[in-house]
């Protein structure tokens, strides 16, 4: 069974004061996330990631379509006991201490009273805040608030965890800790659905990713599958201090450094490039494939979309 199923989910807001006009935030979205999967929801700012998460959380109502979490409709109140949610740039009741806040959320989530304190201690330890448990949140840094946010999202031991930009506002150490935490959640068999515009995070953590842009889904799949769809490149290094004309025609990316020349060119130009070097009697130093990153895929995908939009216009 899919942990999250999204079927033609769409959202259009009416904007303007007197003359209302529609603004499409999310075009019909179809998506399925498997149980136990870490799923990345990628897109630039304003792409529709947060709208999708808000729709799934029941914070905004869809204009059309439906969604199911663990087989239950999102409007079913029982589903809320099985999910945890970290909003983007979370803000909490700052007059409470971390312990009081977590106790409040534990009560609202229906955690049995006798389990409350042990659960709170555990999650505070998990996010590295046991020493700040009795400090009011108004004295917390942004990074500490993000950790409290993660703590409240996993406090009631949900089966599916939704995280909206969980790494935002964190320093490199904090980001690494959140990554470790997400890996830990995956080990515990939880489904993690997280949105981000930081592609390195998605590449490091996700089993599968979806890319959304301008409210429309542009691609879904495993990171390896997506990146393999981008044409591969190779890096060629040879001895010399000039770029021969035959190489210039094959690659636009040639750099001379001291007595070596480095060129990056499409994989299908490899034979022609080697032939050119042989003709010029140049000594080959290395030839290595350049790994395609998710970022490259992402940029290329969006570029293609913009080109086709420009072409139509």
């Amino acid at each position: 069974m899919a942990a999250i199923e999204v079927i033609n989910l769409e959202k259009t807001y009416a904007v303007g004061f007197w003359r209302k006009r529609p603004r499409v935030a999310l075009r019909p979205l179809n998506l399925a996330v498997n149980e136990g999967e870490v799923f990345g929801f990628l897109g630039p700012n304003g792409a529709g990631k947060t709208t999708t998460l808000k729709l799934l959380m029941g914070l905004v109502y869809p204009t059309g379509g439906s969604a199911r979490i663990l087989g239950m409709e999102i409007s079913d109140p029982r589903v809320k006991a099985q999910i945890g949610f970290l909003p983007e740039q979370p803000y909490f009741y700052d007059y409470l201490t971390a312990r009081e806040l977590l106790a409040y959320y534990a009560h609202l989530s229906g955690v049995p009273a006798k389990e409350c304190s042990s659960r709170i201690e555990n999650v505070l330890k998990l996010v590295g805040l046991p020493d700040a448990a009795n400090v009011q949140l108004r004295k917390f840094s942004k990074g500490m608030l993000q950790r409290v946010g993660i703590a409240q999202a996993v406090l009631h031991d949900p089966k599916v965890v939704f995280l909206d930009e969980p790494m935002s506002g964190l320093d490199p150490m904090g980001r690494r800790e959140v990554r470790d935490l997400m890996a830990q959640l995956k080990q515990q068999g939880k489904t993690v659905f997280f949105s981000t515009h930081i592609l390195a995070d998605a590449e490091a953590l996700c089993d599968r990713v979806a890319i959304i842009h301008q409210g429309e889904l542009r691609g879904v799949g495993a990171v390896a599958d997506l990146t393999s769809s981008v044409q591969g490149k190779i890096e060629l290094v040879w001895a010399g201090n000039a770029v021969p004309a035959s190489m210039k025609s094959l690659s636009s990316e040639c750099h001379v450094t001291g007595d070596t020349v480095r060129a990056v060119l499409p994989e299908n130009q490899q034979d022609a490039a080697l032939e050119a070097l042989r003709r010029e009697h140049l000594k080959l130093i290395s030839l290595v494939p350049v790994r395609t990153s998710l970022e490259q895929y992402f940029v290329e995908k969006l570029k293609r979309v913009e080109q086709s939009a420009g072409g139509k216009a």
């Binding site: 809320k80 909490f92 959320y105 009560h107």
Partner: protein, 258 residues
């Protein structure tokens, strides 16, 4: 009360306490102490009348200000600061959130009124040196003031679900002022004709009747408050605030939390 409503109400009460809302009690205590001392020196035989009038009016004024200024931000502040997201993504229904917030603010005002009521009785004891049987009607006046707060809280919460804090404050305060002259509005309606009559009759039933809930003057003059009025006002306040809360829930249930 279900446990989620209880916890939301308790958190609302805690927020008011930690945001030092109850500090108004200090201002109230200072005002009443100064008034009691002054009244003791300048009034002859009307000390009780002045202290009851001044004390109960201050209780009402302080409470109304708190009810409006906290009530108008109860929902809108939670949306603006996005604290609501982590509450509503739990097994909490939207109506439970509204009802919990309402009970939390009402509870804060009840505690505030009890403390102020004790202050009124202390000032009364200071100027009269003894209590008399008719002083029990001060408790009825305090109860009616609490009923006013209940209605104002429900109205402020209703406005808070669809408008900005500033507009909500304007709406709630306007209704309080108009409601304080509800009996006059009814009198005007009885005298008017045609379309004006329809509008004024509708308005006189629509606005909360705060003038019926204000017995400060008669209590200060030691006139007894009939039990039928206590029963009528209780039912009126419960029904009116329940309707305002239903309106708040209906609006909030449909609202997109952008």
């Amino acid at each position: 009360m279900n446990s989620r409503i209880f916890h939301i109400a308790a958190n609302t009460f805690r927020e008011a306490v930690r945001d030092r809302v109850l500090y108004n009690l200090i201002a109230f205590a200072l005002l009443l102490s100064a008034a009691a001392i002054l009244v003791g020196q300048i009034s002859i035989d009307i000390e009780r009348l002045v202290v009851v009038n001044l004390g109960l009016s201050a209780v009402s004024l302080f409470g109304i200000v708190i009810a409006i200024f906290i009530g108008i931000g109860l929902v809108s502040k939670e949306i603006d600061k996005r604290t609501l997201y982590t509450v509503l993504s739990r097994p909490v229904r939207r109506w439970e959130f509204i009802v919990g917030k309402f009970f939390g603010l009402t509870g804060t005002l009840v505690v505030n009124t009890v403390c102020m009521g004790i202050g009124v009785f202390a000032a009364l004891l200071y100027v009269s040196h003894k209590f008399q049987h008719s002083d029990t009607s001060i408790l009825v006046a305090l109860y009616f003031i609490v009923l006013q707060f209940v209605i104002i809280c429900a109205l402020a919460l209703l406005f808070s679900t669809f408008s900005s804090p500033l507009l909500s404050a304007v709406f709630a305060f306007s209704l309080f002022v108009i409601g304080s002259f509800a009996e006059d509005l009814k009198g005007f309606a009885a005298m008017s004709q045609g379309f004006t009559r329809v509008v004024t009759v509708a308005a006189s039933y629509l606005v909360p009747n705060f003038s019926a809930l204000n017995v400060i003057r008669s209590v200060a003059h030691e006139h007894p408050v009939p039990w039928s009025l206590v029963a009528y006002n209780t039912i009126y306040a419960v029904v009116y605030s329940a309707m305002a809360l239903c309106g708040a829930v209906l609006i909030f249930e449909r609202r997109n939390l952008k």
